[in-house]
Amino acid sequence: MRLGVRQCAAGALLVAALVLYSPTLGAQGDNDSFSTALSALRDASFLDKEAIVGRLAESGHPSTRAVLSALVEDRLYVRTADSQVFIVKSTDEALAAWELVDPVSLSDRGSAPRDELTKIGTNNRLRRLLKTTLARFELASPDPSVRLAAVREVLRSLDDATVAVLRERVGTEPDSRVKDEIETGLGLAALDGSDSAARLAAIAVLARRTRLEVRNRLAAMLERSADGVYAESDPQIRAAAAAAVRSIDRRRTVYSALEVVFFGLSVGSVLVLVGTGLAITFGVMGVINMAHGELMMLGAYTVYVAQTLMPGHIALSVFLAIPAAFLVAGTAGVILERSVIRFLYGRPLETLLATFGVSLILQQTVRSVFSANNRSVETPSWMSGTLQLGDALSITLNRFYIILFTLIVFAILLVILKRTRLGLDIRAVAQNRGMAQAMGVRTERVDALTFGLGSGIAGLAGVALSQFTNVGPNLGQSYIIDSFMVVVFGGVGSLWGTLVGGLSMGVVNQILEPYVGAVLAKISVLVALIVFIQRWPRGLFPQTGRAAESH
């Protein structure tokens, strides 16, 4: 079975780990050799570092684990002054000086300014090695979740030595989830064994898992080489494996269906978000707002500015950016309405012309102010990562939050339109301007505010976009068409149409994509839209009754 450099090293370390953790041998590590190994790390090549890490682990020194985890977390530094190696407590960019810890005694050693410290770097192989090594330490951690992670880590590189440890743990493991995981591992290992009874048992265990690795491992036994020889000779075991694969697949199909729906919703929610603002400026006010995309861009840049203003507080800055973006884009919208659009009511096609001009100007302004390069917007840590539902379905958090965000924004908008005075005015003006005027609605003001509201929402969309795509001068361009599609598909003037339209477009797209590829999927969605409009010329939720008959 596959044995790279890594596995060998891992094997060696494992022995060390065993020694370290079997309570009978309370091995006393020798501080001197330990610290010499440490100082050797200073300017070793990556390959040497791997060897040194090996030595450290074998040394069985009590602070080995602390050092290794510091190394993998980029917290192991050398003080330039005396080229002493230290563990840094926290590498917070915000701090001017970092607190030092002695790697041998793990006792505090005051602090040093950042620029007097140089990091001991790692690369992929080293990190991988460190993780597997540490995992073996953590197998014995009191915290079950840590143990679970550790087992998962160990499973990535199974070898006889690892299996030995797992065997030892499986008996004593109290936590069921960890136990399952270990059994999975043992099962996978057992498959390679010779005792067919054990292998059948293993298959029986594995058949209850959903994890892809397991499935592929079993499926691999069923493959037959070019000359028709099965990878697995024993027909009985093959049958068992085949059955196992089938049952796993059955469970997985459910998950993958859910996955597609989720992906679809997340794509759709973005469409909805970019469409909603337009549903106001274009749908309600009839302004063909070509600058809509650039208003989103403003929102995205607001996030960037917020983050540069308060480095180190990413999460907070994003939260502050939400209202800020609304205000920035909203104000821009109001200015735009007062200075240009209000002269163009009754001439919507000219609003297209003017707003297109505005969009050009906004783009170039951003280029002049922030340069043509994309800007780096960081994602708060709590937004990256996944929500693991079962073995097979993982929901990516940032997409999940964006769906949430979209729904919230949409709900708030509905409340504004349906429950507030402003909303009432907006609808009144949209319905019948003259009448509204007669009833004392200050239509001018309402126009400005309506447009501001729509633009503000575009700003909010920008905040969301900044979390998963480029923040650059072209941000707007890449979404403007989609937004118009969504609004028209949903039916101009209908918010619900925008919601339903956007979501369904997203889901359809994601259902098609695996089969026909991204481009054809998009094309088919567009064609579907065209056909749909042929059949229902006023979109999903058309305005009914006499009002709709325009002549």
């Binding site: 163009l344 096609l349 100007i361 599609m485 567009l526 042929q534």
Partner: protein
């Protein structure tokens, strides 16, 4: 001239047209002279750079003309005309690619280079025939025309109007753009067609050929102008304007509105296609970004800047805006977008009828605001509701 046409405007219109035609004639005489006869040294020499540029402007002029015919007179705002333009261009491009023959970098007698290094083994079926000009030429009109017919037949029959129509035309050209970007389509993907050698046996890089192409373009523009003029001056033209102003009223007069819209749409798309076909050999490349919706929008803007519903205004606008673009991208590369943006805003705010609005008398010919005339509810024009922002 049909009877009963108001005479004074007729005079005016003809004067405008006369100016345009005279200009085109002058160009097609002067340009060859200045480019070929005058020695490169002299200040009067017209460089190939300007020659190509003028040729390009005229092509865009044709595109604008086509757009004005349906937008200015029938009130159909197409945001997909770039698609027809590009289809014409691709038809010409396919012909030019086949003309390269063994002079391609791989020296393959049949396959264009991009097919060779993506190791295709034979020409896709839809390439057959394009090595003959007599086949390619009609395709330059039929490809866009056919698409327009199918699309229009459905759209107008099901009475898709206003912004809904605009957006699905946009969707159409967007979809086509994505499709042509795919290398599997057999149209050279993102790189499209380029490095053309010659057309009808004449070397495309020789000034003589370029001059010839320019003159052909000028003539094509003149002819398409006369055709459009004839259409809008016929009773059909008046019906179209009537449709623009009050569509359902025209139905009650017993006209089959959809067929009027359809045919003028097809005609317009054919003109656009031919413009594209003439554009490609002059600029020397055609690739999918020509389909980009933004291009359609720009074309609409040329018409608006010039003044819609006047035909000459459209041509003037196209030339004006594109000259501005050429000039600014060269002179103020850092800030030219400001200038262009300002131009668009300025025109909409101060010249609602475009620059033609400044020409005394023509203003009256131009629909005041939007296809349904001044003060009509904004949203009804969007095809949404009769109520709304009525004054």
């Amino acid at each position: 001239m049909p009877f009963g046409r108001p005479l004074l405007p007729a005079m005016r219109q003809d004067r405008g047209g006369a100016v345009l035609l005279a200009g085109l004639v002058a160009l097609s005489v002067l340009v060859p002279l200045l480019n070929l006869a005058v020695p490169p040294g002299s200040p009067w020499h017209l460089s190939t750079y300007w020659l190509t540029l003028l040729g390009k402007y005229l092509c865009f002029g044709m595109l604008a003309l086509a757009l004005d015919l349906i937008w200015g007179y029938a009130g159909i705002l197409s945001l997909g005309h770039a698609a027809f333009f590009s289809l014409g261009g691709y038809a010409m491009g396919m012909y030019l690619m086949r003309q390269i023959g063994t002079r391609g970098v791989y020296g393959d007698p049949v396959l264009p280079d991009f097919m060779v290094f993506l190791n295709w083994h034979s020409l896709p079926w839809f390439w057959t025939g394009f090595n003959h000009f007599w086949f390619a030429l009609p395709m330059m009109a039929l490809a866009p025309g056919g698409l327009a017919f199918v699309f229009g037949w459905f759209a107008f029959r099901s009475r898709v109007t206003g912004v809904y129509l605009s957006i699905i035309t946009q969707a159409l050209s967007y979809a086509l753009m994505l499709a042509f970007f795919r290398n599997d389509m057999g149209f050279g993907g993102n790189n499209g067609f380029t490095d053309f050698k010659d057309i009808l046996g004449w070397d495309l890089h020789a000034d003589r050929t370029r001059v010839a192409l320019f003159v052909v373009t000028a003539v094509a523009l003149a002819v398409s102008y006369l055709v459009c003029r004839a259409v809008v001056d016929s009773r059909a033209g008046r019906v179209l304007r009537a449709i623009r102003d009050a569509e359902s009223r025209v139905r009650f007069l017993g006209y089959r509105v959809e067929s009027y819209k359809l045919w003028v749409f097809v005609g317009s798309s054919v003109i656009a296609g031919l413009a594209g076909a003439l554009y490609v050999p002059q600029v020397g490349i055609i690739n999918p970004s020509e389909f980009a919706p933004i291009n359609s929008i720009e074309a609409v803007i040329w018409v608006a800047v010039g003044g819609r519903g006047t035909l000459i205004g459209a041509v003037a606008g196209a030339v004006l805006v594109n000259y501005a673009k050429t000039y600014f991208t060269g002179a103020l590369p850092e800030v030219w977008l400001y200038a262009l943006g300002a131009l668009f805003i300025g025109v909409t705010l101060f010249l609602p009828r475009g620059f033609m609005g400044l020409v005394p008398g023509t203003a009256r010919l131009i629909p005041a605001d939007g296809p349904r005339g001044a003060g009509r509810p904004i949203r009804s024009e969007l095809g949404v509701s009769a109520e709304g922002k009525a004054k």
